[in-house]
Chain length 302, copies 2
C-alpha cells in the first residue's frame, strides 16, 4: 500500500521545520514530482527554494494550491482556518488537504466556522516530531522516521483521503495512529503542552531571581534537558496553548494542586509521602521509557 | 600542581555511582595506590571489588578508614554525619575528609552537631555530575571530565586540605569552583532540586490520570527528556529534598506562584503576557545553553 503512494504536485503552506522536512522526506523517497511552497515571507521561500526543499513558490495561497493533489497546511494553528477559507475555492475537486497542527479540536472548529462545514477531504493530522529549532534551515528529511503521526478524522471524512494522508506520512517514515480530536488534545495537553509551560515557567522564575547568571552557570545536564523545550518558538507555543486551552487548563490545574500537596509534604517533613510520590513516578517513568523510546529520540519535540 | 596529586590509600564510603566513578577515575589516572571500599552491603562491595573499582573492602567504617590519607563520604546526605562520628577517632592525624553530597548546609550542620565542631581537614564538596542510574555498576571513570565540582569550605578549613581535595577532583578531570555552603544550596535548589520535584510530580500527576498508559505511549522526546530525572533514586532524592528544605521551599513557592499567574493568563486569554513569559524564558535559555554546554553533557544529572 505504502509503495503505491505518489503525489504529482504537493503544496506546502508554511515551509518551516515541519513543512520543510515533509517536503524533503517525500522528495528523498521519490514520492513527489513537484513541491510548491507558500508563505507570507518571500525571503524564507527563496531560501527554501535554494535549499532544494521546494521547486517553486507562490505568495498567494489561492494560487499556490492550483493543480495540487495534496495540500498540507503547516502554518501556526491560529492561521489554519483563514488559509483554508482562502484556498477552498481554488482546490482541485479531488485534492486532499491535511495539516500538522499540535492541536486538533481548535483547527477543526476554526475550519467549520470559516467554511460552514468541515470538508470531507480534509484529514486533520499531527506529526509528533520536531526539535526546539524552527525554520526551513532546520528541516531534514529524516525528521519523521519512526515518529508517530496522529490522524484525527471526523466521522464523515472520506476514507480514501485518510488513506492517502496516512500513506504520505508512511512514505516519510512515520507510524500512523488514529484517535478523536478531543482525545488527541487531552493527551497532548498532558505530555507536551503542560511540559512546555513548566519549562518556560521554570526558566522565567529563575531568570527573575537576582543571581540568575550564576545560577545558570552551575546548572547540570539534567537542568539543560529539562528546560530545552523552553528554547522553542514563543509565538508558536502561545498559539498552541490558547488553541488547546480547554484541554490544557484542567491538567495544569491538577498538576499545580498536586505540586502544592508535594510542597506541603516537604514543608511538614512528611518523608513517607514524598517517597511514595517519587517511587510511583520513578516506576511509571521506568516503565514507559522503553515504550517512549520506540517512538521518540532524545532531542525530539513536538 | 595537578601533577603533584597522589593518594596512597583512598577510602570511599558508599561505593555507588559517584564514589565508584571517583575511584575509577583516580585509578585510571594512576593517582592512587590503593582504594578501600566501605558500605553496609557486602554484595555491593564484592561486586565493586570484582569490577576492579576497589582493591578491598571493610564493612565497618571505623576500620575502613585506617591508614587512609583521603576519605570520601559518598553515602546519602542523611548518613554523612553519623558516619563521620564513627570514623573520627580512627582517622590518621593528617587525613583529609571530603564528601559528595548534593546539599552542603545540612551536611556541615550534621557534622557540627555530631562532633561538636567541624574538623578543619573536612572539605565539603559536591561534584555536579551523575546520571539517573545509581549503583557501582553504573560508575565509569570519565564521569567527572569537564564537570564542575563545587567546594564549600568553612572560614577555618585548612587551606592545604582544600587544595588536596581540589587536586583530587582535577585529577579526575573536573573543574573546581568555590562558594559558601549557603549559596551552593540556593543555587542547587533552583537548578537541580526543584526540577527533580517537578519531573517526579508531573509523571505522578499523569500516572494517576485514567488514560495513563495511552498518554505515555504518545509522549514525544521532549517529554522523555523533561521527565528523565524522575527515574532517579526516590530515597536519595527524598534525602536531598529534606536536607535542603530551607533553600528549596522558597524557590518552589515562588515557582508555583509564577505558574499560577501563568495559568491565570492562559485562562483569561492574556496572550501578550504568555508571549512575554515565553520570550523571556527562551532568551535566557538560549543564552545559557552554550554556557551550560561547557560544563554539562546531555544525560548528566547531579
Amino acid at each position: 500500500m505504502n509503495d503505491d503512494f505518489h503525489c504529482n504536485r504537493l503544496c506546502i503552506i508554511g515551509v518551516g521545520l515541519i513543512g520543510g522536512s515533509l517536503a524533503r522526506a517525500l522528495r528523498a523517497a521519490g514520492k513527489v514530482d513537484e513541491v510548491v511552497g507558500c508563505s507570507r515571507n518571500e525571503i524564507h521561500l527563496t531560501r527554501a527554494q535554494s535549499l532544494g526543499v521546494i521547486d517553486r513558490f507562490m505568495l498567494d495561497p489561492a494560487r499556490a494550491v492550483e493543480g495540487a493533489d495534496i495540500v498540507v497546511l503547516a502554518t501556526p494553528v491560529s492561521r489554519t482556518a483563514e488559509i483554508y477559507q482562502a484556498i477552498a475555492p481554488h482546490l482541485l475537486d479531488d485534492a486532499v488537504v491535511s495539516d500538522v497542527g499540535s492541536t486538533k479540536g481548535s483547527v477543526i472548529a476554526g475550519i467549520r466556522q470559516a467554511l460552514d462545514h468541515v470538508p470531507v477531504r480534509f484529514v486533520p493530522a499531527h506529526p509528533i516530531a520536531g526539535t526546539e529549532k524552527s525554520g526551513v534551515e532546520a528541516s531534514f528529511s529524516e525528521l519523521f522516521i519512526e515518529r508517530r503521526v496522529i490522524l484525527t478524522p471526523l466521522d464523515d471524512t472520506d476514507p480514501l483521503a485518510i488513506e492517502r494522508v496516512a500513506n504520505m506520512w508512511k512514505a516519510a517514515g512515520a507510524v500512523i495512529t488514529r484517535m478523536t480530536a478531543e482525545h488527541h488534545d487531552e493527551v497532548l495537553a498532558a505530555t507536551s503542552h503542560l511540559p512546555h509551560l513548566l519549562a518556560y515557567g521554570l526558566v522565567d522564575t529563575l531568570a527573575t531571581m537576582e543571581e540568575r547568571r550564576e545560577i545558570f552557570s552551575y546548572a547540570a545536564g539534567g537542568f539543560r534537558d529539562f528546560t530545552r523545550i523552553a528554547s522553542s518558538s514563543p509565538d508558536m507555543w502561545a498559539d498552541i496553548v490558547f488553541a488547546n486551552r480547554d484541554a490544557l487548563l484542567p491538567v495544569m490545574g491538577r498538576f499545580l494542586e498536586d505540586m502544592d500537596l508535594l510542597r506541603k509534604a516537604v514543608e511538614q517533613g512528611d518523608r513517607q509521602r514524598v517517597i511514595d510520590i517519587f517511587s510511583r513516578a520513578k516506576s511509571e517513568r521506568d516503565r514507559f521509557a522503553a515504550l517512549v523510546g520506540r517512538f521518540a529520540k532524545p532531542g525530539d519535540l513536538e
